[in-house]
């Protein structure tokens, strides 16, 4: 009886998504799961690289697949402008456009407009902005966003939300944005044409006000979307505040749904967020920083443009399993050295492609290792080892990480 009950309680399905909880860390709130989407299963926790304009910066979809990626992002905003909805419809969606047979997640398109760019004005109908070409006033609504994402055909689509930077001091505006986001979710659900093949995720808003976040969680969860995102954490807020919001939301979210923290990608942020119970992350940083010659490694960031790497014939990262770094006699290894990347950094696009491959691999592998640790119930040891490598003298751990991890039972300084 108990086994049956346990089985029943470790997986949940909606029309186009199955979430199966595989293991829970016995100390922290970290969880390992499998999320099955229309284009196949993905293991959580996971990092999703961002292929903004239906291309991951010079990597072929085949090379992206080779990093182990099975779910990547496209930006609705960019695809809406190029190639545009008509082309997407004619081609048959973004999977066909880019020759990617795995999963795609798209954002709503509102984020760039509102939060980053401050070029738009938000009203109840939608986001108002001026056409860049001729200054004509234009309106982007939840219905437009969903219609575009339906044309894109992404496996996970995001609601249009009213995003404010979390550091905004305007409580009244923050509440308005939170409540409007709930109303816009209803409009998105109503406008969504393909609930059987595309999963609409809601986005929790509410800034840094935990009560407002909790209220938003309650409203959003009641709408029973297949997955849930925590939004509005743009990086401007203090890391302690970020952790508090992620921790508070995760505690209120249903166990058998994927939890997506939007727009984060620093390795420390990923590891701490996993400890706080989050499952999915995305960020342009790993691929962006690659183009400036930076390699992400277990020992921190290396800028391979620096002269000290000119004659460094070691791999980008010792022990890395990516096609650039894996030992030269192993199948599929290229034998790329730091010296070779240095030689071509900022001179040939190939150097950027190689570092992109390495960095994406690093991020995916970090989450793979976290997942294995959760399943083996040695996640706290994994976290300590991870921070130990980044801060080798055992001191200088960031206090936000120490505090957040302490809150879930890991003492970094022990």
């Amino acid at each position: 009886m108990w086994a049956v009950k346990r089985m029943a309680s470790t997986s949940a399905s909606s029309a186009a998504l199955t979430f199966e909880l595989v293991a829970k860390c016995s100390t922290t709130r970290a969880r390992a799961s499998v999320m099955t989407l229309p284009h196949g299963p993905v293991n959580l926790p996971m990092f999703m690289p961002v292929a903004t304009q239906a291309s991951l910066k010079g990597l072929t979809p085949e090379q992206l697949e080779g990093t182990g990626c099975r779910l990547c992002l496209n930006n609705t905003y960019h695809l809406g402008l190029k190639p545009g909805q008509e082309v997407l419809d004619a081609v048959g969606g973004a999977h066909k456009l880019q020759g990617w047979n795995h999963n795609i997640l798209t954002d709503s398109g509102g984020f760039q407009m509102v939060s980053l760019l401050k070029l738009a004005t938000v009203t109840e109908e939608g986001v108002r902005f001026l056409s860049p070409h001729d200054g004509t006033p234009m309106l982007l609504t939840p219905e437009h966003s969903i219609s575009l994402q339906n044309s894109i055909g992404s496996d996970i689509i995001m609601q249009l939300d009213d995003v404010l930077v979390t550091t905004s001091p305007d409580k009244v505006r923050m509440r308005e944005a939170m409540e409007r986001s709930v109303r816009w979710l209803d409009r998105c659900i109503a406008a969504h044409k393909n609930p059987d093949s595309q999963n609409l995720f809601c986005i929790i808003q509410g800034g840094l006000d935990l009560d407002m976040r909790r209220e938003c969680c309650k409203e959003m969860v009641a709408r029973d979307t297949p997955g849930i995102a925590i939004g509005g954490l743009s990086g401007g807020e203090a890391k302690d505040d970020f952790c508090r919001v992620v921790g508070a939301c995760n505690q209120l979210l249903p166990e058998l749904k994927p939890r997506y923290v939007m727009g984060i990608g620093y390795p420390e942020d990923l590891v701490v967020s996993v400890a706080l119970g989050a499952d999915m992350f995305d960020c342009v940083w790993p691929t962006r920083t690659a183009r400036f010659g930076n390699a992400i490694t277990k020992d921190g960031m290396l800028n391979l443009k620096r002269e000290k790497y000119a004659a460094d014939f070691g791999p980008i990262e010792d022990g890395c399993g990516c096609p650039c770094c894996r030992p030269i006699d192993e199948e599929g290894s290229m034998g790329i050295t730091r010296a070779f990347v240095h030689h071509n950094a900022a001179k040939e696009t190939v150097a950027a492609h190689l570092l992109t491959m390495h960095n994406v691999w690093y991020q995916l592998n970090l989450m793979r290792e976290a997942r294995e640790a959760i399943i083996a119930d040695r996640f706290p040891a994994f976290v300590r080892e991870f921070f130990g490598r980044l801060y080798p003298d055992g001191q200088g751990y960031p206090s936000w990480a120490v505090d957040a991890l302490q809150g879930v039972g890991i003492d970094l300084n022990s």
């Binding site: 239906a54 291309s55 910066k57 010079g58 072929t60 085949e62 905003y77 960019h78 809406g80 402008l81 190029k82 190639p83 545009g84 909805q85 008509e86 082309v87 081609v91 066909k96 456009l97 880019q98 020759g99 398109g109 760039q112 980053l116 760019l117 070029l119 738009a120 004005t121 108002r128 902005f129 001026l130 056409s131 860049p132 070409h133 001729d134 200054g135 004509t136 006033p137 234009m138 309106l139 982007l140 437009h144 219609s147 575009l148 962006r288 002269e307 000119a310 030269i328 006699d329 599929g332 290229m334 034998g335 050295t337 010296a339 070779f340 030689h343 071509n344 040939e348 696009t349 491959m357």
Partner: protein
């Protein structure tokens, strides 16, 4: 001549002539270049040109997987720059350790797949003209840090250290255009090249891992007859040279008439034939292997090659339409085209992707556009050479070449697609890369300030950075509305 094979004597690298001089007036021939551990190269064929040790836009894994190319040409000038803050440092490439998989330093430094041969020359093809000129013991080369002197000694040392599969000794070249055939300069080019080959062989008496392809400067036969006699009468019998590197294949008829014993050597052309028409002519002159700068240029222009040795049958019997050599994928009719880049192409770009994707990537200035175009364009060339070899085998080369000449336009179309960043210093700024002013986004309820948002300066035109706000929107608000991105607010007033 007959079908009987002529082989070079026992050397690490072998070149076999499988069929030669089949038809009067054509010196075209079939051959096979082989080196243990590397892909065998059937000739006529071509070597890919690299920039700083990479085939532009293609990572080494994809060179291995998705290019047929059996050889890559590398220029030493791409590796020996002296950065201003580190004037004294030895170029790092000379310290490259070798591995079991990459037993040669040049292969190892550039992560060139072991199946691919490397060919080392001093200068890129085509080379940037130097204002300084050469001296009796040095050539002027162009690095990422500017012009630099490369002594003959350093070059010879580089060949010994880097162990390319094939090395081309220094030639005294003038990169400022053709030299008057009978001028003093032409004579000196021949004399210096002769001298430098002598000092190369003296400096490298026991070169065992590298095949030497003697450079033949682009001056008329009578001007360099002495040098060519030395190759034929002294150096060939001593097995000091394993091939010829020709800067102008038009010398071949005279050369082969005068020195028949040079016939078994493979002939590598370092001239830059601008079109496939020129390739066919050079094959008829007897060229075995090409380097083709137009390939990288065509890909960077957004063009996909569409030619094949046997043109497709005309759509109607009376049609005498001249076919284009390439198609511009940036043109709007490709926006929704799910066809391969050229009919029947089986390259990675054409099997995994389609014209609409490349069109999108070009329009979005995504680097992958150029990667996929490179794969396709190299594949079309590989197929072109494979078809040429088949025609030589079936004795149809001459008529196929004539049909090709009648069927295709003489030149490539001009590609309108945006180029990637002119990869820096190799391209002297000719004002062709001018930045267009694009419409900038303006703040709604704003102060009219136009601004660029979310882009690192200088990275956008290079395809390295995607602006958070796409910076170019095709057309008007009506177009945006049409694209489904948003709708025009009729009646709304801009404040």
């Amino acid at each position: 001549m007959t079908d009987e094979a002529e082989t070079n004597p026992a050397e690490a690298m072998t070149f076999e002539v499988l069929r030669s001089a089949l038809i009067d007036g054509s010196a075209a021939r079939l051959g096979r270049l082989a080196l243990a551990g590397r892909k065998t190269i059937d000739t006529p064929n071509f070597f890919a040109l690299t920039s700083r040790g990479v085939v532009p836009h293609i990572t080494p894994d994809n060179v291995d997987k998705h290019l047929d190319t059996g050889g890559v040409y590398m220029a030493l000038e791409d590796f020996i720059e002296r950065p201003q803050q580190h004037q004294k440092r030895q170029p790092p490439i000379y310290d490259t350790p070798t591995t079991k998989r990459h037993p040669r330093p040049l292969h190892s430094f550039t992560a060139t797949p072991p199946s691919v041969m490397t060919i080392l020359g001093a200068r890129r093809i085509p080379a940037v003209a130097s204002p300084m000129g050469n001296t009796n013991t040095s050539v002027s080369v162009f690095t990422s840090q500017g012009f630099q002197v490369l002594t003959t000694k350093e070059y010879h040392q580089a060949v010994a250290t880097l162990q390319p599969d094939i090395a081309i000794p220094l030639a005294d070249l003038s990169h400022h255009g053709p030299v008057t055939p009978t001028s003093k300069r032409a004579l000196r080019m021949a004399e210096r090249t002769d001298e430098w080959l002598g000092s190369y062989l003296a400096d490298l008496p026991s070169l065992s891992k590298t095949a030497t392809y003697a450079p033949i400067p682009p001056v008329p036969f009578p001007i360099q007859w002495e040098y060519l006699s030395r190759l034929s009468e002294d150096l060939l019998p001593l097995k000091k040279i394993a091939g010829l590197a020709l800067y102008d294949p038009d010398i071949l008829p005279d050369l082969l008439t005068a020195h028949q014993n040079l016939t078994p050597l493979p002939r590598l052309s370092l001239s830059a034939p601008p079109t496939p028409h020129h390739i066919l002519r050079h094959i008829a002159l007897g060229t075995d292997i090409f380097t083709l700068p137009f390939l990288n240029t065509v890909s960077d222009s957004g063009l996909a090659l569409t030619f094949s040795l046997t043109p497709p049958p005309p759509t109607s019997p009376s049609s005498s339409q001249i076919l284009p050599l390439a198609t511009d994928l940036s043109t709007p009719q490709n926006a929704t085209s799910l066809t391969p880049l050229s009919k029947n192409c089986t390259c990675y770009a054409c099997t995994a992707h389609h014209a609409a994707y490349i069109h999108h990537l070009l329009s979005a200035r995504e680097m992958l556009a150029w990667t996929l175009l490179q794969m396709h364009n190299h594949a079309v060339l590989s197929q072109f050479f494979a078809d040429i070899r088949a025609s030589l085998l079936s004795n149809t080369f001459t008529e196929k070449a004539a049909l090709f000449a009648r069927s295709y336009e003489p030149e490539f179309p001009a590609g309108m697609g945006e180029r990637p960043r002119a990869r820096g210093y190799q391209y002297k700024s000719a004002g062709g890369d001018g930045k267009r002013n694009r419409p900038a986004w303006e703040k709604f309820e704003g102060d009219g300030d136009k601004k660029e948002v979310g882009v690192e300066p200088g990275t956008r035109s290079e395809g390295l950075e995607t602006p958070l706000v796409p910076d170019e929107v095709d057309g008007t608000a009506a177009a945006l509305d049409h694209m489904g991105f948003a709708e025009i607010e009729h009646g709304a007033e801009q404040k």
